[in-house]
C-alpha cells in the first residue's frame, strides 16, 4: 500500500525541478502553478497550542489529467512559541535535514472543469509524505476556478502516528496527536518552459 508510483515521483521531481528552474524536458502544456500560498498548522494540545506557517508551498495541477503535486520545505515554517520549539520541530520531530520536504501528490477524484469558472468541492487522493513516510490520503479541498487561475483552500488533519513522529511522554500534553493543517493557495496557468 505504501508504494509510490513512478509517475508520482516524476511529478514531484518535475515540480521541484521546474520551480527551481533547472532544465527538464516536458511537453508544452499549460498547467497551474502556485503563485501565492500559506500553509498553516496548529497543534491543539491540552497544555499548549502551537501554530506555525509557511508561504513557500510550491505545486502544480495539470488540468488535462487532473493530477497534481505539492511540496513544502519543513524549514520554511515560522511561528512557534519559541525558537527552541522551532528547532525541536525541525531536529527532533521532522528530522528536516534528512527529510527536507513534505509532499503530497496524486489525482483529483471528483469532477472539476478547469475551463468553467465556479467553485468546486473536490477530493484529492494521493500520497502524503511526511518525514519520508508515505500515507495514502483522500483530502477534500475547495477549488475556485477563474479564467487562467485557480484558488485552493483545504483543511485536513495529519496524525503524527501515521508518519512515525514520536512525541516523548513528558511533552505529550503539549503536542496534539493530530495536527490541523490549513492550506490556501493561488495558482496561475503557465506554460511549462522548455529550456
Amino acid at each position: 500500500m505504501t508504494l509510490i508510483k513512478p509517475w508520482q515521483i516524476n511529478l514531484v521531481a518535475c515540480i521541484l525541478i521546474s520551480v527551481s528552474g533547472i532544465a527538464f524536458k516536458v511537453d508544452e502544456q499549460e498547467r497551474f502553478f502556485i503563485k501565492n500560498s500559506t500553509v498553516k498548522f496548529e497543534s491543539d494540545a491540552p497544555l499548549e497550542t502551537i501554530k506555525a506557517e509557511s508561504s513557500e508551498l510550491r505545486g502544480v495541477i495539470d488540468p488535462n489529467n487532473h493530477k497534481f503535486g505539492f511540496s513544502v520545505s519543513t524549514l520554511s515554517f515560522k511561528g512557534f512559541n519559541s525558537p527552541l520549539q522551532r528547532s525541536h520541530f525541525n531536529e527532533n520531530y521532522l528530522e528536516s535535514e534528512k527529510y527536507p520536504e513534505i509532499t503530497f501528490s496524486g489525482k483529483i477524484i471528483d469532477d472539476i472543469d478547469f475551463n468553467t469558472t465556479g467553485i468546486y468541492s473536490v477530493r484529492a487522493k494521493g500520497m502524503l509524505k511526511v518525514k519520508g513516510i508515505p500515507q495514502e490520503r483522500i483530502i477534500r479541498s475547495i477549488v475556485e476556478v477563474k479564467s487562467g487561475a485557480v484558488n485552493l483552500k483545504s483543511d485536513f488533519e495529519v496524525l503524527l502516528s501515521d508518519h512515525d513522529i514520536r512525541i516523548p511522554r513528558i511533552v505529550n500534553q503539549k503536542i496534539a496527536p493530530s495536527i490541523k493543517v490549513n492550506i490556501v493557495a493561488e495558482l496561475q496557468l503557465q506554460k511549462s518552459k522548455r529550456t
Binding site: 508504494l3 477524484i109 471528483d110 469532477d111 477530493r123
Partner: protein
C-alpha cells in the same frame, strides 16, 4: 403457599449483570505470540475453513487453532492482500507486491506477473481465465496466451472485481465503476462515474444480488443500489448522506448489510423490513474503528478483521437491547407484540411500548401515580387493538394504546382471582390464567359496548375446569383448542365446552406445567417443573430432558418460531428443537447468552418472525430461521501419524508393518461453538462399531496388517443427524515374512533343501552300507590271511628253531605272536585306528617275521613322532601292505626285502618295497589291495596311489 412463594421468586429474580447494546463479538488473535499481525483479508474455502491473509503471511482457522500456512520461501513476511479459490478449489493468494501464488499438490507455487502493485482481488471464472485487480496497475487477466492488460479503464487503482450473474465483471476504481464485458472480443468496458449518476467516483466495494441488482460501497457516498437494466443509482432513503468514514468492506447478511469503515467501526444497515441503521463503534462499546474485511461464513456467522484482531459474531441472529433512549430494559416481567411491530414490555419501572425503528422508539404508558406499584406479569394484545395487562394482586387491566384510557377488572368485576399470570385470546374470547382458576371473558359484539369495556366473565374453578386453582399459562392452538398449564394437575385441554385433564403421564412427572406452545405439525409442547419438556401428539407424551438434548431444566418459556421449531428459553440460554427430527441446537455462553434469568412466559413473537425475550439484562431479539438448524459441522481429517510422527501427507496411505500405531487428528468445523463438537469414528477393517469421543485425536495401537478405512463424523449436539463423514483409506503392509511371494519362495527353497537333504542322507546310508560290506569282506580277507596256514606254519617253524636255541626268546616270540593276533581281533571292528596303534601292530609283525628272515627283511620307518597320534587310518591297512610285500616277494640273503615307510607331504605315507620275484608266486586274489583302496575312498577324498615299477612297488596312502 410454598408454590406461590417459589413462583414469586421466579418472576422477580434480580440480577445486576449488564450487556452491551451491540451484537455479541468474540475476539480472536491470529498469533498469540505476536500482537502485530494485522489482518488484511478474510476468506472461507469450500471446506469451510476460515482463512486470514495478514501482513505476516497466511493463516487457516478451524475454530480452535490458527495454522500458519507457508506460501513462499520467505513466507512469514508475505503481506497477503487477496485470497480466493480458483477452478478445482485451488487456493489463490495475492500479495501487496503483486505476487500471485496458487495451491496445488506440492503446496503453493508462484505465478509470474507483469505488475508490482498490490493485488486487491483474484477471480478465476469457469473458463479458467484469471482476473486480477491491482492497486496501481489496473486490471490484468491471464488467458491461454498469457497476461493481458485491460485497456480503457478510467484509473489504475482498482479495489475489486466481482462477477455479476449476467456474466459480466464489475470493478470499482478511484474514478468510477466499471462493467467489463469479457464475452466480447476484445473485452469491452463501460464506465459509470458521477456524470452518469454514480454518487461517488471512488467505488470500494461491490456486492451482486442473485437477481442482478448491485450494491456499491463508496468512499464518501455511502452505499447505493445499481440496477444494470435501468442504469440508475439509488441511495437508500435513510442513508442519503453518509456520516461515517470510508467504506472498506461490506458483508451481505440475510436482512442486513454490515459495512466496515476505516474509522467509524461497523455500520449495520437493515435493508429489509425496517431499514434500521446503527453503528458498532467505540461510542457503544465496540472497541474497534478500522475494519478491513467482513465476511459471513456458510453457517451464518460473521467474521470481522479489525486491525490485529479477528472478531467472530453470530451477527443478526440475536441481539440484546439493554436500553434505548436512556430507558433501561432490565428485569422485564412480560413481553407482548402487536400487529404494527411494536413491542410491549413491563418491568419494575412500568409499562413501555418500544419500536426501535420509530423516531420516538420508547414510550411509557400508565404514567399516572396510581399505577406506580403495579406488578404487571402478563401482557396480551387482542384483535381489537386493546392491550390487556395481568398483575399480581391488582387484577386485570385493559389499555387503549390510542387514547391511553385504562379499565380495571378486579374480582369484584367478575374475574376469578386478582393474580393474572397469563392472558391469551382469539376472536371474541379472552382467557385468563390466574392463581384461582380460569376466567373466560367474552367480548360484546358491538364495538361501542366493547369500548366501554362491557365483557362477560365466566369463571372455572378447580372442580369445574382445570383441576387446580393455580393456572400458570394459557395457549390457544391453531385448531382453536385452549390449553392450560396448571400446578399439580398437568395440562388441561378445553375443547367444545369441555375440559379434559392430562394430569398423570410419564409416571406423574409432568404435574406442574409452566409454558405451552405448538409445533409445525400441530403437536403441543410444554415445559414442566424439574422434568424438562414434553411433546404431546394427542396420544403420547414424549419427554425431553438433559439426557436427550435439553441443556437446562430451569425453563422459563417455550415458544415456536414461524418455521414451527420449538424455542426453549432457560437459564443457560436458548435451545431450538426441530419438531420432526428432534434435533437440538443450543445457543448459550459461547455467544454471550448466559444467566438469562427470564421471567415466566416473558416472550413474544412478532410478525417479522423476531422472537422477543424479556430478561434481567435487557430485551433480547432472536431470529431463529436465518440458518438451517440441521447443518452438521463439516468434518475434516487433518493429520495422520504413525507412532505420533506426522505422516508425510494424507495421500500417503501405505504404512509399514512396524508403523502400525496410527493416529488421526480431525476436526468438525462448528465456529458457533467449537468446544461443543463431539465426534464419532470407526475403523472399518478393524471394527464396524461407531465410537463416541470428544477428543480430536484417536490412536489405534498395534494394528495388524490389512486394508482399513477410518471414518469420522462430527456433531454439534451429539445427535449425529445427517452427519458429514470424512474418511481415510490406508493399508498396513504385511511384514516381508508374511508376503505371499516371500512365502512361496521360502516354500520352494525348503522343498529343495529337504530334497537335497534326503538325497544326501540316502547316499550316506548307501555309502555306510557299502562300507560295512567292504569292512566285512576285508575282515574276512584279513582273517583268512592271518589264519593263513603258511604264516602259522612258518611261525611255528621259527618258533621251533628258537625254542632250541633260546627258550626265553621263544617265550618272547610266542608273546608277540599272541599280541599280534589279539591286536588284529581288537582292531578289526574299528573304522579307524591311530597311526601309533597301527605301527605297534606292524612292529609286532615285523618282529615275528624278522625272527624268521633275520636281516634279510627290514622295515625302515621315517615318520615324525607328532604324526603318530595326530593321524588315523583304517586298521590293518599298513599291516596289509607289509604282509602283501612279504607274501609276494622272495626273501633271502641274496634278495633281501626292504620296506620303507615314509611320511610325505602333509598327511601321506609312502610304502615302498623292492621287488624280488618268487619262483612260485602265492596265489593272489587281489582283493586285499582293492579292498583297501575302496575303504580309503569311503573315509577320505584323498586317493590311494599304487605305482608298480620294474624294481619297486610303491603305495601311497592318505592319513585321516
Amino acid at each position: 403457599m410454598k408454590k406461590i412463594f417459589f413462583l414469586i421468586i421466579f418472576l422477580f429474580s434480580v440480577s445486576l449483570k449488564a450487556f452491551s447494546s451491540i451484537p455479541f463479538f468474540k475476539t480472536l488473535q491470529v498469533d498469540k505470540e505476536n500482537n502485530n499481525v494485522r489482518i488484511n483479508v478474510l476468506f472461507q474455502d469450500h471446506e469451510s475453513y476460515i482463512w486470514t491473509g495478514t501482513d505476516h503471511g497466511l493463516y487457516r482457522f478451524d475454530g480452535i487453532v490458527f495454522l500458519h500456512i507457508p506460501i513462499g520461501s520467505s513466507d512469514s513476511l508475505e503481506n497477503i492482500s487477496a485470497i480466493s479459490e480458483g477452478n478445482n478449489h485451488s487456493m489463490l493468494i495475492g500479495t501487496d507486491k503483486g505476487e500471485i501464488f496458487f495451491h496445488n499438490k506440492n503446496g503453493f507455487t508462484k505465478i509470474t506477473t507483469p505488475f508490482k502493485s498490490p493485488v486487491r482481488t483474484l477471480y478465476q471464472g469457469r473458463d479458467g481465465i484469471l482476473w486480477v485487480a491491482t492497486y496501481g496497475d489496473g486490471v490484468f487477466y491471464k488467458n491461454s496466451t498469457g497476461w493481458q492488460s485491460l485497456k480503457g479503464l478510467p484509473d489504475n487503482f482498482i479495489y475489486s472485481i466481482v462477477p455479476h450473474p449476467s456474466g459480466v465483471l464489475l470493478a470499482g476504481t478511484d474514478l468510477g465503476f466499471v462493467i467489463i464485458d469479457r464475452r466480447n472480443n476484445p473485452v469491452s468496458i463501460k464506465v459509470y462515474d458521477t456524470h452518469k449518476g454514480l454518487p461517488d467516483n471512488l467505488v470500494r466495494e461491490i456486492h451482486c444480488e442473485k437477481n442482478g441488482l448491485v450494491w456499491l460501497g463508496m468512499q464518501e457516498g455511502g452505499i447505493c443500489k445499481f440496477d444494470p437494466k435501468t442504469e440508475k443509482f439509488i441511495k437508500p432513503s435513510n442513508l442519503q448522506t453518509w456520516n461515517y468514514a470510508t467504506i472498506s468492506c461490506m458483508a451481505r447478511l440475510k436482512n442486513e448489510f454490515w459495512i466496515g469503515t476505516n474509522a467509524s467501526g461497523i455500520v449495520d444497515f437493515e435493508f429489509r423490513a425496517d431499514n434500521r441503521v446503527r453503528t458498532f463503534s467505540p461510542a457503544n462499546g465496540f472497541p474497534y474503528t478500522n475494519i478491513t474485511d467482513i465476511i459471513q461464513s456458510k453457517d451464518g456467522n460473521i467474521w470481522i478483521a479489525a486491525d490485529n484482531k479477528l472478531l467472530f459474531s453470530p451477527g443478526e441472529k440475536y441481539e440484546v437491547i439493554p436500553e434505548d433512549h436512556h430507558v433501561l430494559f432490565d428485569s422485564i416481567h412480560a413481553v407482548a407484540t402487536d400487529v404494527t411491530g411494536n413491542i410491549w414490555l413491563s418491568n419494575n419501572n412500568g409499562l413501555y411500548r418500544y419500536n426501535y425503528n420509530s423516531s420516538d422508539p420508547v414510550k411509557k404508558f400508565l404514567t399516572d401515580a396510581k399505577y406506580r406499584n403495579l406488578h404487571i406479569v402478563s401482557l396480551f394484545n387482542d384483535e381489537s387493538g386493546y392491550l390487556w395487562l395481568g398483575t399480581f394482586d391488582d387484577g386485570l387491566f385493559r389499555l387503549d394504546p390510542v387514547s391511553g384510557s385504562v379499565k380495571r377488572y378486579s374480582v369484584k368485576e367478575g374475574i376469578r382471582n386478582a393474580n393474572v399470570i397469563s392472558i391469551n385470546g382469539r376472536g371474541n374470547k379472552i382467557w385468563l390464567a390466574t392463581l384461582g382458576g380460569i376466567t373466560l371473558c367474552e367480548k360484546p359484539e358491538n364495538p361501542v359496548e366493547e369500548a366501554k369495556g362491557k365483557y362477560k366473565f365466566t369463571n372455572y374453578s378447580d372442580e369445574t375446569g382445570p383441576g387446580s386453582i393455580f393456572v400458570y399459562s394459557v395457549y390457544i392452538d391453531t385448531k382453536g383448542r385452549v390449553w392450560f398449564g396448571t400446578d399439580g394437575k398437568g395440562i388441561t385441554l378445553y375443547e367444545n365446552g369441555k375440559f379434559t385433564n392430562y394430569s398423570y403421564f410419564d409416571k406423574g412427572k409432568g404435574k406442574v406445567v409452566y409454558s405451552i406452545t405448538e409445533d409445525a405439525t400441530g403437536n403441543i409442547w410444554f415445559s414442566t417443573l424439574n422434568y424438562g419438556i414434553y411433546c404431546f401428539d394427542g396420544k403420547v407424551f414424549r419427554n425431553f430432558n438433559l439426557t436427550n438434548g435439553l441443556k437446562d431444566l430451569n425453563i422459563s418459556s417455550v415458544i415456536h418460531d414461524n418455521a414451527g421449531n420449538i424455542v426453549v428459553i432457560h437459564q443457560r440460554g436458548i435451545d431450538v428443537v426441530h419438531p420432526v427430527t428432534f434435533e437440538w441446537e443450543h445457543i448459550g455462553r459461547e455467544v454471550g447468552i448466559e444467566s438469562l434469568d427470564c421471567d415466566l412466559n416473558a416472550v413474544a413473537r412478532d410478525y417479522k418472525n423476531n422472537i422477543w425475550i424479556g430478561s434481567q439484562h435487557g430485551l433480547i431479539r432472536f431470529i431463529n430461521n436465518l440458518v438451517a438448524t440441521n447443518v452438521q459441522p463439516e468434518t475434516h481429517i487433518q493429520k495422520t501419524y504413525a507412532f505420533m510422527k506426522p505422516g508425510t501427507g494424507l495421500n500417503d496411505s501405505i504404512f509399514n508393518y512396524n508403523q502400525n500405531q496410527i493416529s488421526f487428528e480431525y476436526i468438525g468445523l462448528y465456529f458457533s461453538n467449537p468446544e461443543a463438537v463431539t465426534y464419532r469414528y470407526r475403523l472399518v477393517g478393524f471394527s464396524n462399531k461407531w465410537l463416541n469421543t470428544s477428543d480430536r485425536i484417536v490412536t489405534f495401537p498395534n494394528l495388524p496388517p490389512g486394508i482399513y478405512r477410518f471414518e469420522v463424523m462430527s456433531s454439534f449436539n451429539n445427535q449425529f443427524l445427517n452427519p458429514v463423514v470424512d474418511h481415510f483409506n490406508f493399508e498396513i503392509k504385511k511384514p516381508i515374512y508374511k508376503e505371499t511371494w516371500f512365502l512361496s519362495i521360502l516354500f520352494i527353497v525348503m522343498t529343495v533343501t529337504l530334497y537335497l537333504f534326503i538325497r544326501d542322507r540316502e547316499m550316506r546310508f548307501r555309502r555306510i552300507e557299502s562300507l560295512k560290506k567292504e569292512k566285512i569282506v576285508y575282515q574276512f580277507e584279513t582273517l583268512k590271511s592271518q589264519v593263513n596256514p603258511h604264516f602259522l606254519f612258518n611261525s611255528f617253524n621259527t618258533l621251533i628253531a628258537i625254542i632250541e636255541e633260546d627258550s626265553s626268546k621263544a617265550v618272547n616270540y610266542v608273546e608277540n605272536l599272541s599280541d599280534y593276533f589279539r591286536n588284529m581281533i581288537q582292531y578289526r571292528d574299528k573304522d579307524t585306528v591311530h597311526l601309533s596303534e597301527e605301527l605297534e601292530m606292524v612292529k609286532t609283525y615285523y618282529y615275528l617275521q624278522q625272527e624268521r628272515y633275520g636281516n634279510n627283511f627290514s622295515i625302515v620307518f621315517d615318520i615324525p613322532e607328532s604324526w603318530k597320534l595326530k593321524f588315523c587310518l583304517p586298521p590293518l591297512s599298513l599291516q596289509l601292505l607289509i604282509e602283501n610285500a612279504v607274501k609276494h616277494n622272495a626273501v633271502s640273503h641274496e634278495t633281501p626285502l626292504k620296506i620303507t615307510v615314509t611320511a610325505i607331504g602333509k598327511n601321506r605315507l609312502l610304502i615302498v618295497n623292492n621287488l624280488n620275484k618268487k619262483l612260485h608266486p602265492d596265489k593272489s586274489t587281489g582283493i586285499g589291495l582293492e579292498n583297501l583302496i575302496s575303504r580309503f575312498k569311503i573315509l577320505t577324498p584323498d586317493e590311494v596311489r599304487v605305482i608298480k615299477t620294474e624294481k619297486e612297488f610303491k603305495v601311497e596312502i592318505p592319513l585321516i
